[in-house]
């Protein structure tokens, strides 16, 4: 069974059609990379999947649990709030600019949602958070506040915060775009380590080499449509569409 199915998603902001019928499926343990130029709708797609935006039409389900489906009138019909609350537990999201809570220490950023949303015991939550932080090489930062950390460390904390909730699928919205190349490396390393644990992930990124190496499936989006999809070898190695070739040429390190 697929962890996530996005079916024929359409979304407009006023008269601007940002998503014009997007279909994406994510299987268990799969790593999906979404690439494309700025303004192609990648981030909007992620925001629709994580309930930060509503779709105009189309269907979304996690493990067969429907977020939204097409009603008899052709309009998008969202599930009742109680269902959405349950469905939120299926996914986690790592933001481009981390969005850690600045007034909470690192450990509290991780444990507070566990304790107050998932209603876990305090000791259990702290033990779990400590273990995850140690795994990410952040054990000595547990009592620091976000402003005391580098961007790379902050992003790793936000990954820990999302992982602690044990999501079925983890979304990354350009997780390294706010970081310099050195810090980018340390965050990518962490994401790569998650693939070894067969974490299901959807990654919107501009890091082409990274996408090529870690993804099982690549979607290339432009102007609100999926232009091309396939394995990294297919999309990066032998792109079929002229638009894809033009886009990738700009990223190839040894362009003639």
């Amino acid at each position: 069974m697929n962890v996530l199915e996005l079916c024929n998603i359409r979304k407009s902001f006023g008269s601007l059609a940002v998503l014009r019928g997007i279909t994406v499926t994510v299987g268990k343990g799969e790593v999906v990379a979404v690439i494309g130029p700025s303004g192609s709708g990648k981030s909007t797609l992620l925001r629709c999947a994580t309930l930060l935006e509503t779709v105009d039409s189309g269907e979304i389900n996690y493990l067969g649990d429907y977020v939204v489906r097409t009603g008899p009138d052709g309009q998008a019909q969202y599930s009742p709030p109680a269902d959405l609350k349950r469905i939120r537990r299926y996914f986690g999201l790592v933001f481009q600019n981390f969005n850690l809570f600045p007034h909470y220490s690192v450990i509290k950023n991780v444990t507070d949602p566990l304790i107050h949303v998932h209603k876990r015991g305090k000791e259990e939550a702290y033990a779990q958070a400590q273990a995850l932080l140690a795994k990410m090489g952040l054990e000595d930062k547990a009592d620091s506040y976000p402003y005391q950390l580098s961007g790379g460390q902050q992003q790793r904390v936000s990954i820990v915060r999302a992982l602690a909730m044990k999501p079925e699928v983890l979304f990354f919205d350009e997780p390294t775009s706010a970081l310099d190349p050195e810090l980018t490396g340390e965050v990518l390393k962490v994401i790569r380590s998650l693939t070894d644990e067969h974490m299901t992930m959807v990654i919107v990124t501009h890091e082409m080499q990274f996408a090529q190496h870690v993804a099982d499936k690549v979607y290339f989006m432009d102007e609100g449509l999926v232009v091309e999809q396939g394995t990294p070898d297919e999309v990066f190695g032998r792109p079929q569409e002229e638009r894809t070739r033009r886009f990738l040429e700009r990223y190839s390190p040894s362009a003639p």
């Binding site: 609350k85 939120r88 600019n97 969005n99 809570f101 107050h116 949303v117 976000p146």
Partner: protein, 237 residues
Amino acid sequence: MSLETIIIQLAIGLLKSIAIFALTLLGSLPLGLLVAFGRMSKWAPLKRLTLTGNGRFKQSLAGIRPLQILVKLYISLMRGTPLMLQLMVVYFGPYYLFKIPIGQNYRFTAVVIGFVLNYAAYFAEIYRSGIESMPVGQYEAAAVLGYSRPQTFFKIILPQVIKRILPSITNEVITLVKDTSLAFAISYSEMFTMARKISSSQSTLVPFVVAGIFYYLFNLIMAYVMERAEKSLSYFR
């Protein structure tokens, strides 16, 4: 009248000034938050009734936010008229409008009601400025993690808002210390009213000097307290 008696008399008045000050903050800080919610309310009950229509008239009806309009009017009245006048309305209003006899004890109540209503309007706008300056990412992170709306506001947003607005609150607190003297408008015997009484009966300016020193010391203490409060929130950025 000796200096000592003047000081004792004024100290009694100072206690009453402090009572006005404390009760005003106790009432207007929470009330201001409620008013801020009303000010930011997007509740538009006519939207539902006019869903079917698309005429210009119906469209404009649908956009009406009654709670927001009401609160805006309240804030504009509180900020647009003198506090002294507002105190007089609260004190004399019940009698002139409804012929309700006013007792001696009502004087203090009227002062506190007037101050709370006035300061809540200012605090509401300060809260609003803080709430609206919060980056949307904080709300989004909380939503994705599954925090409910009240949890998001009270656990994530409000503590950061308080840190941001504390300097503006300090301003209001210091103004309030001096504003308590406006209670003389309805002859409530706080420090300034006392100073005037003693001054005119003894024909001396000493009570005003003493009162001025008391106000200044009071504010010195408040400025220190607020500075400590700001420091206690400096553990995050």
